[in-house]
Amino acid sequence: MHKYANPTVFMRLANAVLPWAAGACVLLFAVAIPLALYASPADYQQGDTVRIMYIHVPAAILGEMVYGLMAAASATYLIWRHQLAALIARAAAPIGAIFTALCLITGMLWGQPMWGTFWVWDARLTSMLLLLFLYVGYLALGDAFEDQERGEKAAAVLALVGSVNIPIIIFSVEWWNTLHQGSIFKMNGEGMKVTVSPEMLAPLFTMMGAYVAFFVTILVLRMRIEILNAKIRNARITQAAAPMVATQAAQAR
């Protein structure tokens, strides 16, 4: 792992991965979208609204997984001081936040026809909403400092604190939900997942793969931009310092 901590080595690897990830992303979406929207059967109860699941479920899984990745990268950064790990965490966070938001929005759009309301204080919805807030806090903290490194470190600590808290939040929200919520909204998007028929499972997994490929593509692109930005910044600093260094050299002579 330490070998890839070098940005140049990493970028060589990332550049090799990028076309494959981008290609897989386009290809998988090209297969998954028609499969999900036309080829798969409508649900006997939910009708065509069940197709929202193909957008919703992968977004939920990715939203959670990206936070895990971010927390792991943050730990790596705090322990081994690998600059690259900070870069991964920072580049992944907005993508994860967007996935989480997408999950909530599609969930609300799905809830309207199915539950008759856009929002239910269901345990899953509530934990997802809190996850989105954790993302927003992470992003805000990372941007709040003049010194970029300070922001990175503070945000890394916050990501770890958040990752310890997420299980507690999920547990307490579930407790709270069973205390407050009647069983009217028992039908749940993921509740039927175990009984999903194979015709629905195929588009779901294809879509899942497409989301992962999309994530990898965007992550690598964002990291590439960040590394280039850092190089530009360093070049500017060197350039700005050049006359001063020259004068010092002249004085020394």
Binding site: L78, V157, N165
Partner: protein, 221 residues
């Protein structure tokens, strides 16, 4: 005297000398709680239903409001640098500071809460669970809040930012705090939510000082 006692006594003394700071928090707590009847109407039934939640949410916001005080002035005048290089482990310093924050802001809140409860028509059975839950839950708020206060040192808009970071982490305490009051009113077991609050407190007690110490070390670097 050990480092813990020295720092705790110093923060306590500072807070008592500028007692208006603590009083402002109590004033905020009272006014914010009293705003709710204006918002939802004065019917006793409605108020009794939401009283526990209102007191908990306002207590949470009051604790949040005073978080900046834990480290901000020490950071600005350089005391924090001294604390970092002193022999006392930074986690112990963080623990002492969180304890002082709890003693100076949450104890006044716990004292004033039973006086505010009648204005919200909280039934009598709710008083004891409310006080027990506040006593067990507010230390966790101070401990978690200490992490947030340390993280935003030197940040732009630190005060607003800390609420964004910390409020999602406060949700479990809020849930079990109000659950205890609810249980008291409906005759369910009050013990269960209180035990969970105690568990959250012990968890925060063991983990939060370390996270705060890491955050502080980065702030003074």
């Amino acid at each position: 005297m050990s480092g813990f006692a020295v720092i705790f006594a110093r923060d306590l003394k500072l807070a008592l000398r500028q007692s208006s700071d603590s009083l402002t928090v109590v004033g905020f707590f009272a006014i914010a709680a009293v705003l709710f009847p204006f918002g939802v109407g004065p019917e006793p039934g409605v108020l009794a239903r939401i009283a526990g939640g209102v007191l908990w949410v306002t207590a949470l916001l009051s604790a949040l409001l005073s978080l900046e005080r834990i480290y901000a002035s020490d950071y600005e005048d350089g005391t924090l640098d001294q604390l970092t290089i002193s022999g006392t482990p930074l986690a112990l310093t963080a623990l002492a500071k969180a304890a002082a924050h709890w003693a100076t802001t949450s104890i006044p809140l716990i004292v004033i809460a039973p006086m505010l409860a009648p204005t919200l028509h909280l039934p009598v059975e709710g008083y004891l669970p409310l006080l027990a839950a506040l006593a067990l839950g507010t230390p966790t708020l101070s401990l978690i809040g200490g992490i947030g206060a340390a993280l935003v040192l030197g940040a732009r808009r630190g005060g607003v930012l800390v609420s964004l970071l910390i409020l999602p982490l406060y949700v479990p305490v809020l849930i079990f705090g109000t659950a205890a009051v609810e249980a008291g009113l409906t005759g369910l077991s009050v013990q269960a939510p209180l035990l969970v609050l105690a568990g959250l407190f012990v968890l925060a007690l063991t983990l939060a000082p370390w996270a705060t110490a890491v955050a502080l070390r980065q702030a003074v670097q």
